[in-house]
């Protein structure tokens, strides 16, 4: 009698445990993405003229640097998970000069690649609805007729006694860059560390074409200039090599 009781209790516990396990592994979870900013081989420090003009004379400082990450897709064994309303404004003016995205409710799967855009898609760029971090009343909005800045860099170039303002506002639909990263090992929601990316601010001026800030101190609405910088920022994000 007692044996029967303990056996049924044990099997009950086992069943409950199994049920909880099955329930848990079928539940969606969180995938985290972290972006750490650097300037070439140096850390990012704002408001300090410590970086050399890559294409010419003078030192530059960074007052503001931010850009949109959008349309995040996770590629898994069961298919592609498109993160809904994924419009994130990455900014690094914090003590760790990093930006983290927590993707909640990601379906249970093993994901081997991630794709996302620098910039926003044509539909969002032509809309005045507030979705995700898109806000038509923010500093990233030009105005409703032009759309959003995809990337904003503001600072100054200092050469002997001359201080020149640097203003790089890059937008336009053709300058959205979609990047794909094949992950070194597959990740599952909740069970893996954050996906680590490095954002190299300097690549904006060195990525494909080296920019002399004195010759090109601002980029706003000129299509060729914007395309030049977009070609560069298309190279600025990489997976962080794990030690």
């Amino acid at each position: 009698m007692r044996k029967l009781l303990s056996m049924s209790v044990a099997s009950g516990l086992l069943l409950t445990g199994a049920a909880i396990y099955v329930y848990q592994v079928s539940q969606p979870g969180t995938v985290r993405m972290r972006f750490d900013a650097v300037v070439g081989n140096k850390p990012l420090v704002f408001n300090d003229a410590r970086y050399s003009n890559p294409g010419g004379a003078g030192m530059f400082r960074i007052r503001d640097f931010q850009f949109f990450i959008s349309n995040i897709d996770l590629h898994g064994e069961k298919g592609v998970y498109r993160v809904p309303d994924s419009y994130y404004l990455a900014r690094f003016d914090n003590s760790s000069t990093s930006y983290q995205i927590n993707l909640a409710n990601v379906p249970r799967d093993w994901y081997s690649a991630v794709t996302f855009s620098i910039g926003v898609d044509e539909v969002a760029n032509g809309s005045i609805m507030s979705v995700g971090d898109l806000d038509p009343n923010s500093r990233m909005a030009w105005n409703w007729e032009v759309g959003y800045k995809f990337l904003l860099f503001e600072g100054a170039l200092i050469d002997s006694d001359t201080i020149r303002p640097l203003v790089y506002h890059v937008g336009f639909n053709e300058n959205r860059k979609t990047l794909r990263f094949n992950l070194p090992e597959e990740v599952a929601p909740d069970s893996s560390d954050a996906l680590l990316f490095t954002v190299d601010v300097l690549a904006l001026f060195t990525g494909k074409n080296t920019v002399d800030m004195a010759a090109l101190p601002n980029v706003k609405f000129d299509r060729d200039d914007a395309r030049l910088l977009a070609g560069n920022y298309g190279t600025m994000i990489s997976l962080t090599a794990r030690p």
């Binding site: 404004l89 507030s130 923010s138 500093r139 030009w142 600072g155 640097l166």
Partner: protein, 386 residues
Amino acid sequence: MESGGFGSINKSIAMLSLCGVMLIAIIYGFVAYIEPKPTPLQGFTAPFVFGKFRVPVDNPLTQEAVQLGRRLFYDKQLSGDNTVSCSTCHLQHLAFTDGKARSVGVSGKTLDFNSMSLANLMWGPRHFFWNGRVDSLEEQALAPIQDPNEMAQNLDDLIDELEADDVYPGLFRSAYGKISAENIARALATFERTLISADSKYDQYLRGELKLSAEEELGRKLFMAHPDVKVSLRGGNCIDCHSQFLTSGFNAQFDGFSNNGLDTEALLNPGLQFTTGQVTDRGKFKVPTLRNIALTAPYMHDGRFTTLEQVLDHYNEGIRVSDSLSPLIMEADNQPQDAVNIRISLNLNEEEKRAVIAFLHTLTDHSFITEDKFSNPFDADTMPDA
């Protein structure tokens, strides 16, 4: 016998449970009596182009809170000598400014700053005062009341005064419960949140109800553009700090604070540096809403400009350089810049300056400055001391 015994036990259990239920009901009824049940504010709307807004969970918009807040806002009892109310420096017909370069409170001393317009306060920077030193309207509300130069009121004394009043104990009871400094702040903040200006000519234009005149439309285009000589785009540069629909500073973090070139390095006021402790924030001030700007002269944090023409002249050719000056102001020019001798000027012509001012006049909202719900409730009362 046995069954009878059980029966009596059952009866006493039943009796006990009944007593228990009654006790709970009485306690519940008592709590329900002392806990106010204010009515959620009806018909509260704002244009979707203003974007999302947040009301603190512990201070929802209710009719009772608005009524109480409005009364407090206009009540001179809030100052130490009962001569000054919030409305002394925030007059409805001037879009809740006072027409002075710098405000004057009970001490008679001229304050350091210009009275700020109170409109659409749930959007734009979530930091209040010109230097952004508080993060909520609730926190903001208690500061001028206690400031010795503004309203010079001790909060405990104020609570005593309000408790002795004929009207306030009832108003507080139905809105929040008891009279406390916290609830005074909550009520004032709630009233301020209802001050929405969304029926200017610009709003009507945005809703497709009318067309702007040719001059206003030119001004609007200039307002909404950062100039770029490379593509022959002329711009007034306003939108670099004043968002397109709200016309206020930006709401993310401290993006809504800027150094707009009023002073040289030596004369720069700390501004936002007071709040953040960052030397790079020296000379940055809150970018105010431009709604009703034609009514809210004088201009700037210290009221140094008396007309919009002076303001345009400042942005066009009066910029003073300092280290934290916005690079967007430094760089903006409607003529090609000399790479060596940088002379900061927007280089708008007279016609363009007039057009920007014409557009700024489309931000005047007459229904906002005449709305009964925002007006002095004592005017309609038969208050003996009002």
